[in-house]
Assembly symmetry: C2
Homo-oligomer: 414 residues x 2
């Protein structure tokens, strides 16, 4: 990086005013945001983003998957771009940092570089991906862009197909348009994403920046416990085949299992669906929404085996049958070493402390890694809270992260 570059910084005031304006869209009483993908609030956030891109005199491109790109033609006219970005959708009742920070920092980087009139070896793009949070199809936008998304994925959304179709129609998207959004990998010079850590390692280790080495793999499964519907008043408790008991025993057991045998990995029972779901009927069936994560494929295989053994044990204990339906299996993904190196240099140039770490959360960077060198920059999450209105990052940390994004992008693009 030459001397001019090394003194460049983002415009903190503009960055902050963007951040605060965006946090109001879908803002909740608790101080978070509720912007599930393709909801009215999410679409309003995207209309707001389009307006900012236009006001920054950047070109806008919206692809078939609804991904919003701001384009800065600072490189050759071959259309190849280094992508910087994240997402504007949130989990239900989520926080204001997860996603927006990376999108707005990317926009800020483009604005700073445009203001300097710099000529680089590649063009720059700030991108806002669709449905990172798996409201319907996880990483739908980035997977559509990389060509990884298949018709089967669209036909099996996390919510009902009806709700998905309504959402697509609200957003002006179509399944065929999404599948046609795949981009020639030759036009992608790489991908950089700034994000909050969503954990407490940076705070505990008193580091300014986390440089991601690996994004953990994620497997989502529906586990169904099947018993017998009986009258809840006349069937003695010990003669029931009560699916609720199996689901409950499983939920407790998997927590113990993971704490004991997979202490650096995680498991979650995020939902249950009862049938027939009446106060006065013994539950015949309980569906359990199971998700688990680990940083290596063979560890995921071992976890899955052990978790299913717990399902079998819980079912047997209460005279139940059980079934498993796989939903998603996302493999762990390593970040590109050269991109990691560029981020290290940015930290050093900016006098920021850093640590190499894995990401326990999935990100669009793992899709993008399949078509080009990808990397991620983490900033501290106060208290480690995430997917919650309590999510919080000090503003100085947000600016540090945006400056690291700026410098790492300049290094990669120069």
């Amino acid at each position: 990086m030459n001397k001019t570059f090394s003194t460049l910084r983002i415009n903190q005031d503009r960055f902050r005013s963007h951040f605060e304006a965006l946090a109001k869209i879908g803002g909740t009483a608790e101080g978070g945001v509720h912007r599930p993908a393709l909801s009215e609030a999410h679409l309003e956030a995207r209309r707001w983003l389009k307006k900012q891109i236009a006001q920054a005199h950047l070109e806008i491109k919206i692809d078939g998957a609804g991904n919003h790109h701001a384009l800065l033609g600072c490189g050759p006219q071959d259309g190849t771009g280094l992508l910087l970005g994240s997402h504007l959708d949130s989990v239900p009742n989520g926080g204001r940092f997860d996603g927006p920070l990376g999108v707005l920092a990317a926009l800020e980087v483009l604005q700073v570089i445009k203001e300097q009139g710099l000529s680089l070896k590649v063009n720059l793009e700030a991108v806002d991906f669709t449905d990172e949070e798996d409201c319907f199809v996880s990483y739908m936008g980035s997977r559509a862009l990389t060509g990884d998304l298949k018709r089967h994925d669209l036909q099996n959304p996390s919510k009902s197909r009806d709700l998905f179709q309504q959402a697509l129609s609200r957003a002006g998207l179509t399944e065929s348009g999404i599948l046609a959004a795949a981009r020639d990998p030759k036009t992608v010079a790489g991908y950089l994403e700034l994000h909050i850590e969503q954990g407490n390692r940076l705070i505990e280790q008193r580091k300014d920046i986390g440089i991601v080495t690996t994004i953990v793999g994620i497997r989502s499964r529906w586990l169904k416990f099947l018993g017998r519907a009986d009258h809840a008043g006349t069937t003695p408790v010990n003669r029931r085949r009560d699916a609720a008991q199996g689901a409950a025993a499983f939920t407790l057991a998997v927590r113990d299992l993971v704490m004991k045998d997979f202490p650096d990995s995680v498991v979650n029972v995020g939902n249950m669906e009862f049938a027939p779901a009446a106060f006065n009927v013994v539950p015949e069936a309980v569906k359990v929404a199971l998700q688990f994560r680990a940083d290596e494929n063979n560890k995921l295989d071992r976890m899955e085996k052990a978790l299913l053994e717990e399902a079998g044990r819980a079912a047997q204990r209460f005279g139940l049958r059980w079934e498993m339906a796989p939903l998603e299996s996302i493999a762990p993904v390593d970040m590109n070493p050269k991109v990691q190196e560029a981020i290290i240099r940015a930290c050093e140039n900016l006098n920021l402390s850093y640590v190499m770490l894995s990401s326990g959360a999935g990100h669009d960077a793992q899709s993008m890694a399949s078509i080009g060198p990808a990397g991620m920059i983490f900033v501290p999450s106060a208290g480690g809270f995430s997917h919650s209105p309590r999510e919080f990052t000090e503003w100085q940390d947000c600016c540090n992260g945006a400056n690291v994004l700026l410098h790492a992008a300049l290094t990669l693009a120069h």
Copy 2:
């Protein structure tokens, strides 16, 4: 009972053809029926019943709560009636015996007595009560008739108020009409109900008939466990406040508690509602649908105290808060001794073996007991299955029960 009376029997062929025709309405592939109160299938069953009443040349009366009465003026013209009945609505995906058996046996009794042209001391009514199974408001029909139902009950249905309003409108009912359905207790000479046992005591004790002494009390509660929504990938399992863990520990604990300390009583966790209900978010809140039953009020009080202590323990173990919202508290109700005596005489006259027992299920008889002498006749349930398509009673047992109903009614009305 005089000699003529003692040789009277129901018409088994007509009774059976009624039973089988009715079981087809809302019939399911598994051989049960799906006729939730005020659903299209339930309303179709009631249209069918009206037609049978008309074909039997009995008078029909539908009160403001939608209760269908067939009237036989075999007594004085003062309008006082001995009511025989049950209900045509079912739990979701229920059986074909629970409710219809009692309504059709009552209709059969009226037809037999009409054919004989008997003069009795009171008139007879066969009644089909609305929403016995608590689709919206439990025992809505019988509680409306006895004047026990209040506006507050209608404003807090088990399902959403919108769904309830839609159902009322579908059935041509109104809240004010329901509240105006209360009947002068002086016009009710008593109430008799034939029902399947819904348990396995008659089968185990090889008895033909059960004579109910007490109907157990029922309490329904929503228990809410409150934790913290966190990212399910980045929050270590042991740092969560996971509401699912509290709900699971509670579900297992209450089963053990009741088996150990209340072995003749029951508890059920019939449903759970998670929030935010996503694979990738640690559950912030889980609502648990709890119901428990016992044959004495002070036993219900002790159970409730012990169950809530388990909720406190489960919450404390996982760093959660908890809340309880009472839904319904129905006190245990004793059946009238003179009615029990009439049923005993009927069994003896018919050479049927019998046993006195409590009812673990609630019935309209417990509402009716508040305005007049009430009693219940049970027939065996094969396998003890109930609220399930597996519900089954031998046809001979159904006919035995209908004949006991006939003879007990004649004794009470003579």
